[in-house]
């Protein structure tokens, strides 16, 4: 099964944390047991309404938060809050050392955004992935997830972050191999 590999799991998580699309709504309406999905989504009668609710929630949590973006999705906020460019540079340096360089859309994101880090993790060799995940995800994601749970209005994104936490733990312990 495609998604039994950690690579595809990381890719999928990164995709699920991207801007909500009709595909995301279709997925939520399906039988799939998506973390964070549940009966609450059926309270939105139409797909458009659910998509709008997801869009607003995603915008508030991952793009521009108001009244609060208290759960910053950027690793530097937790790892090096005074010198974010240093944390970002370290990520770029690590990728470079693994013979990889950010390109395309990834250069248009902050490299330390949770979605970017999950996407990068997907592209790494298992040994590199373990070190990368340990340094740049495992070290802050649990704290972030706790904040996100407080900030979220819908259960979806805390659910996805919970799944990410499990996946990261599996990678760090070697259990995903």
């Amino acid at each position: 099964m495609l998604l039994e590999t950690p690579q595809d799991s990381y890719r999928l998580l990164a995709a699920l944390l991207a801007r909500p699309t009709p595909t995301m709504v279709r997925l939520m309406r399906s039988d799939a047991e998506l973390p964070g999905n549940g009966s609450w989504s059926s309270e939105y009668a139409g797909d458009d309404l659910l998509l709008e609710a997801l869009s607003e929630e995603h915008t508030r949590l991952f793009v521009n938060g108001f009244p609060q973006l208290s759960a910053s999705p950027f690793a530097a906020t937790y790892l090096d809050p005074d010198r974010p460019e240093q944390a970002i540079s370290r990520i770029a340096e690590r990728l470079h050392a693994m013979s990889l360089a950010p390109t395309g859309e990834s250069l248009s994101q902050r490299l330390d955004h949770v979605q970017s880090l999950l996407a990068f993790a997907a592209e790494l060799d298992p040994s590199d992935r373990r070190a990368f995940v340990e340094e740049f995800l495992a070290s802050w994601l649990p704290r972030y997830k706790d904040k996100l749970e407080e900030a979220a209005n819908l259960p979806l994104y805390p659910g996805l972050l919970g799944a990410a936490e499990d996946l990261i733990a599996a990678t760090v312990s070697g259990a995903d191999q």
Binding site: P6, G38, H58, L100, A163
Partner: protein
């Protein structure tokens, strides 16, 4: 929130998801990584790109150090002609703007009520379509003059082109109406040209410097401050006129802590002394000036005794100041200032500074104000007139004949809040925080709620974003090109290029792209015929025989400077008389003072004290308040309070206090800075703090907003600018107003009433005009408008902020 979901093992759960959907999701987007080469040595891959800072409007040269596509650091460019490697704290902190987590990242559409701050990320197409529809509907239903836009910065030129093509003529710039408008108007009325930006002060050779309320060192313009410090270190005499012991005052030979609002009286007094003691430049005045007789008549009453009584300064210091300036002539820098919207008599105060400069013969002379040296550069976009765009008069009457930069904010605000059917219906905010840069913030909120449509283009979600229907994210100065700056206001002029140091992050876009996209949707794209902003700039450079690629290597081009008048250079000024106008017939014809006259400003009501506001060296207005580094250096704005006043109300240094104005608007608390370095009849609060938007996590709730307290203003009749130092505050502690003693109680004599103003009549018929033929006199006179074809080929036709360099025609030979 509903936490009724169950945590699951994601790896197992994944298997139950529909395969096609998951593949679809997992493969969405483009590849994130490509193979690269491992580095041998850290740092060797870093590259440096020359560009221009935009942490303020001084536009210093920078080098952006980049590695792996990431910005590591910003340094001053040692080769750059303006700052020569120096950079201020704000410039160094630019990385924090680029990586600010609160940046606007994607187009947003409002989903809740205005003010709620509920948004939805949308595609650029959806956002642009909505804006185009809003503009189209407004124009079709109410006409183009029901649109108002608020530009700021260099790239506003592209949006101005767009608005011109839509025949939307109503705009208002804070940089004019709340800042330099009176200064530029006063200097244009006197010399036919404004003093430039950077101001053309020849500190290098000055023997004396006069600063009137211009606090260099706090208003950090890097090269300007460097030149100023070098002049003072070299021994130039420094006179600082300021109610506050500013950084500049601390370096002064003579600090004149003037009674607020009486600066014109002091300047008249200085002119009186110069004339009486024969310390003015006879030859220069005779050759170049118009109206000396009337000026002499106008200052006849301003003897040291009169001046001292008005200004609350010792008469001997007034005389001393005049002698220092007169003896140093013409090597005297009379600084024109920058933020000059103070008391509603501000064009006249600027006129007085300009006239003082002329009396000292310090215009176009070494050590005074040097002349601009324009460089040719190709035009920006196309000529809207050639494109068939006609200017449409707005229903808002133009009340200020000498103002040539849009409409006063108060007129736009009134036309928005009007109950008439014909009113402003749509606002476009470009980089302008109208709630913190314009007066009457409460009325502004009412206007934002009343409008049919509001859209904004900005870098950060400032407070007005809460009221915007559509928000477009702009690339920062580190990620985009801008139209080149053409700096004639340097002794060696130069053209400099802003270019991207890193790829634009998120889905941010440059202003040319945004304007072009909107123009195409509105079928007015004729002036946006280049594919990209780089192509448009390349075309500008190609007209002077170079290219964007060539200029990008160093970031700038030098020109040849001709900063001084000489024996073979006869100036012809773009004034109606062709001469420097000490007496202005066009002002007289408009019913305004042809020579500056001192008029009293309103005094503090009992229990209140005058609010003065100004800059902090660590911040640029509200624009830098969310910058983490700068916020750490200057997290709040203490209120400066005279030590005797503080003792009278039992306040100690550092005590927290709120400020409340006459309209009951209260801000703070902020700590008191108790000091003898401010007069008892004034307090000082630096500008920019006090934002309340939790979308700006660093700035939110820090300090007190000076702007909120500026609910009243006095309109400057010549320029329409809003004089802002006419607001008075009281101090609140523990919800109780403190009993501030009056100035008289603290031993300051009251200002004598000036019941009779001198009446100045023209003493002689005007000399034959040598001015250009389209500027013939008051009836048909208009200031040089920047949209006009530019005979010098400066490419300034669409430049909102740098339009000043064509005002003087220097004729070679004799």
């Amino acid at each position: 929130m509903n936490k009724g979901f169950t945590r699951r093992d994601f790896l197992k759960v994944s298997a139950s998801l529909p395969l096609l959907t998951l593949v679809d999701l997992a493969q969405a987007g483009d590849p994130t990584l490509r193979p690269g080469l491992p580095s041998r040595y850290r740092g060797t891959r870093a590259t440096a790109t020359p560009s221009l800072c935009e942490m303020c409007f001084w536009r210093c040269g920078i080098l952006g150090k980049r590695q792996d596509g990431q910005l590591l650091a910003i340094e001053g460019n040692p080769d750059h002609p303006l700052n020569q490697g120096r950079l201020c704290a704000r410039g160094l902190a630019g990385t924090q703007l680029l990586y600010d987590p609160d940046r606007l990242k994607y187009p947003l559409v409002r989903v809740g009520e205005r003010g709620e701050g509920r948004w939805r990320r949308v595609s650029w197409d959806e956002a642009l379509d909505r804006i185009a529809a809003g503009l189209r509907d407004t124009i079709d239903t109410h006409g183009p003059d029901s649109i108002a836009y608020f530009p700021h910065g260099k790239s506003a030129a592209y949006f101005k082109t767009l608005m011109q093509q839509l025949s939307a003529s109503v705009y208002s710039s804070a940089s004019f109406g709340q800042c330099r408008g009176p200064r530029d108007t006063g200097y244009k009325l006197t010399f036919g040209m404004p003093p430039g930006s950077p101001e053309r002060t020849d500190f290098e050779f000055a023997d004396a410097i006069l600063l009137v309320g211009s606090h260099l060192g706090e208003n950090v313009h890097t090269s300007h401050v460097r030149d100023f410090v070098q002049a003072v270190s070299r021994g130039a005499k420094l006179i600082v006129v300021d109610p506050r012991y500013s950084v500049a005052a601390s370096k002064a030979d003579l600090w004149l802590p003037i009674r607020p609002g009486t600066d014109i009286a002091l300047l008249l007094g200085l002119m009186h002394c110069l004339i009486e003691e024969n310390l003015y430049d006879h030859d220069f005045v005779q050759k170049n000036c118009e109206g000396f007789t009337e000026l002499k008549q106008a200052v006849a009453h301003a003897d040291p005794r009169w001046t001292a009584a008005i200004t609350n300064l010792p008469s001997e210091q007034i005389v001393e100041a005049a002698r220092v300036l007169g003896r140093a002539r013409p090597k005297t820098v009379i600084h024109p200032g920058r933020f000059t919207a103070w008391y509603g008599t501000d064009t006249q105060r600027s006129r007085a500074l300009a006239i003082l400069t002329a009396l000292l013969g310090a215009w176009g002379r070494r050590g005074g104000m040097f002349l601009p040296s324009p460089m040719k550069l190709g035009g920006l976009c196309c000529d809207t007139k050639q494109a068939g765009v006609t200017k449409k008069a707005s229903f808002i009457p133009k009340r200020h004949p000498f103002s040539d930069e849009g409409y006063p904010y108060q007129d736009v605000l009134n036309a928005t809040l009007s109950d008439e059917e014909q009113r402003i219906k749509l606002w476009f905010l470009y980089g302008t925080n109208v709630l913190h840069s314009m007066p009457s913030a409460q009325r502004t909120v009412e206007a934002l709620k009343k409008l049919d449509f509001v859209f904004m283009v900005d870098i950060l979600p400032t407070e007005p974003a809460l009221y915007a229907d559509v928000i477009l994210p702009e690339a920062t100065y580190l990620e985009r090109y801008d139209t080149p700056i053409n700096v004639a206001s340097a002794k060696q002029p130069f053209i400099a290029l802003r270019q991207p140091i890193v790829k634009a992050m998120y889905e941010t876009r440059d202003p040319y792209w945004i304007a072009k996209q909107l123009a195409e949707r509105l079928d007015v794209a004729g002036c946006f015929d280049c594919d990209t902003i780089a192509d448009a700039i390349d075309r500008q450079f190609s007209e002077i025989g170079t290219s964007i690629a060539e200029v990008a290597r160093t970031g700038f081009l030098h020109g040849e400077g001709k900063p001084y008048l000489g024996a073979n250079r006869r100036p012809r000024f773009r004034t109606p008389s062709g001469r420097i106008e000490l007496y202005s017939r066009q002002l007289a014809a408009a019913g305004l003072d042809p020579v500056p006259i001192y008029r009293q400003t309103r005094q503090a009501p009992e229990g209140y004290v005058r609010l003065l506001s100004g800059r902090s060296p660590y911040h640029t207005f509200t624009r830098t308040m969310n910058n983490a580094w700068l916020a750490e250096m200057a997290p709040t704005n203490p209120v400066w309070l005279n030590d005797r006043v503080a003792a009278a109300v039992a306040l100690s240094d550092g005590d927290l206090v709120e400020l409340e104005n006459e309209d009951g608007i209260r801000v703070g608390p902020v700590p008191a800075k108790v000091t003898p370095g401010i007069r008892p009849d004034a307090v000082f609060l630096a500008h920019g703090w006090g934002q309340h938007s939790s979308a700006l996590r660093v700035a939110d709730g820090k300090g007190a907003s000076a702007n909120r307290l500026l609910s009243r203003f006095e309109e400057d009749p010549e320029s329409g600018a809003t004089g802002l130092r006419v607001n008075f505050i009281r101090l609140i502690r523990n919800n109780q107003a403190l009993d501030i003693p009056s100035a008289q109680e603290l031993g300051i004599p009251p200002e004598p009433e000036t019941t009779e103003l001198p009446r100045i009549e023209p003493a002689e018929p005007p000399r034959p005009s040598t001015a250009v033929s389209d500027e013939t006199g008051p009836a048909g006179w208009e200031p040089p408008v920047i949209e006009e074809p530019d005979p010098l080929g400066l490419g300034l036709g669409l430049d909102l902020e740098g339009s000043d360099e064509g005002g003087l025609i220097v004729e070679e030979g004799c």
